[in-house]
Symmetry: C2
Subunit: 230 residues, 2 copies
């Protein structure tokens, strides 16, 4: 056993895989889900199911990011649909939530310090992603430096590590690794704009990346879509 770790879990495909990797590496994992008022509130329910299936405990922290807004996920701003890979690579879309991963890592750091963990896992991805600045390796490294200065534990000698094991992986590689580790992707949810019954739209960036990932991995996609892709 390697010691305690906090794993940020959103209910999505990436964080479920990240959780399985942290467990496989031998960490004693506590999951952390931030219920931030996201329009796809189904995420929090899925995070609970993913954590439950993993056997690791979950903490849910409520944070009303709608009071800040500025994103398709926290305000009435349309979610882009049907974007090509080139469009996804061309800029930061309105689904970007201002400073979200900084906030999430800060809360994970607080929980890590609270429970005596020095390792934090976040399922960010810098290849098949939407260009969010706070998914880049340089951001993760900067946060790791900050963590040392920010905390009592850091002052007292703890050495915090921020793990982003998916960072260099394609979506297909992530899915293959998760399948190998026994992740049940039918529990996960990626869509930014699900139907009221929870079915995925199939057309937002997150659905498109997920669909392409399963396709490239040559594996069946267990997601229930509103309109089944051809």
């Amino acid at each position: 056993m390697k010691g305690k770790a906090v794993v940020l879990v959103s209910g999505g495909l990436d964080s479920a895989t990240c959780l399985a990797i942290a467990q496989q590496q031998g960490f004693e994992v506590t999951c952390l889900c931030i219920d931030y008022g996201q329009r796809h509130a189904i995420e929090v329910d899925r995070a609970r199911r993913v954590a439950e299936a993993s056997g690791s405990p979950l903490r849910v922290v409520r944070l009303d990011l709608r009071a800040i807004g500025g994103s398709s996920l926290t305000a009435e701003i349309p979610v882009p649909k049907g974007r090509s890979s080139a469009e996804m690579a061309s800029g930061i879309p309105p689904t970007y939530v201002p400073a979200r991963n900084t906030v999430f890592l800060a809360l994970a750091l607080g929980l890590a310090e609270r429970i005596g963990a020095q390792d934090i896992f976040i399922g960010v991805n810098a290849i098949d992603y939407s260009g969010y600045p706070d998914c880049r390796p340089e951001f993760i490294r900067a946060f790791e430096s900050l963590a040392q200065l920010a905390t009592r534990a850091g002052v007292e000698g703890a050495k915090f590590s921020i793990h982003a094991p998916l960072s260099g992986m394609t979506k297909a590689q992530i899915i293959r690794e998760g399948m190998r580790l026994g992740v049940d992707y039918s529990l996960t949810h990626s869509c930014y704009d699900p139907a009221p019954d929870g079915a995925a739209c199939g057309q937002c960036d997150s659905c498109l990346l997920r669909r392409r990932g399963f396709s490239e991995a040559g594996l069946p996609d267990p997601t229930r879509y509103v309109a089944r892709p051809a």
Copy 2:
């Protein structure tokens, strides 16, 4: 007018002074208060009154840090009373909230990006303080570096500045500066452990630093204490 700024406002003496300094420097200020489930919930009410008196708008973001706990301010851990200056200088007390200023600055950064501000003010103090690691200048500088990497605005060329104008001031200097700028300290609240009617305990670190500050500044302390100090 210098542009927009976000000022973290807690309802306490330091942040009220910090707000007055930001306004005096010519920034168009938006106040941000984090309602984090602190036991001294009177803070949020006082933040509203301080912001209202200043004429700047206020946003309140709710965040349940009790789900993390680990501090006298967010869990059932006693607040230390009657500590000497030497005791305050000797270590980090249980009123430390894990990673609190990292979380607060992250939320301020999100709001700054949302409203198009590049300047963030935080009323941390590294002289008359309780030894919190996330009040030190090196922490503030590290967060400033992180902010550039963390945000769409940073990627697009914004240059974030984290201002900590009280950092090198004693409590007496802070109070004198606030009085000069017209801060009404009777609106502010510093106590970590107030009575149900809002009266300050007079004995926690925060009360002791405040009392000593007014005394050293040679100014009357408008605070209502439970037991009036001799």
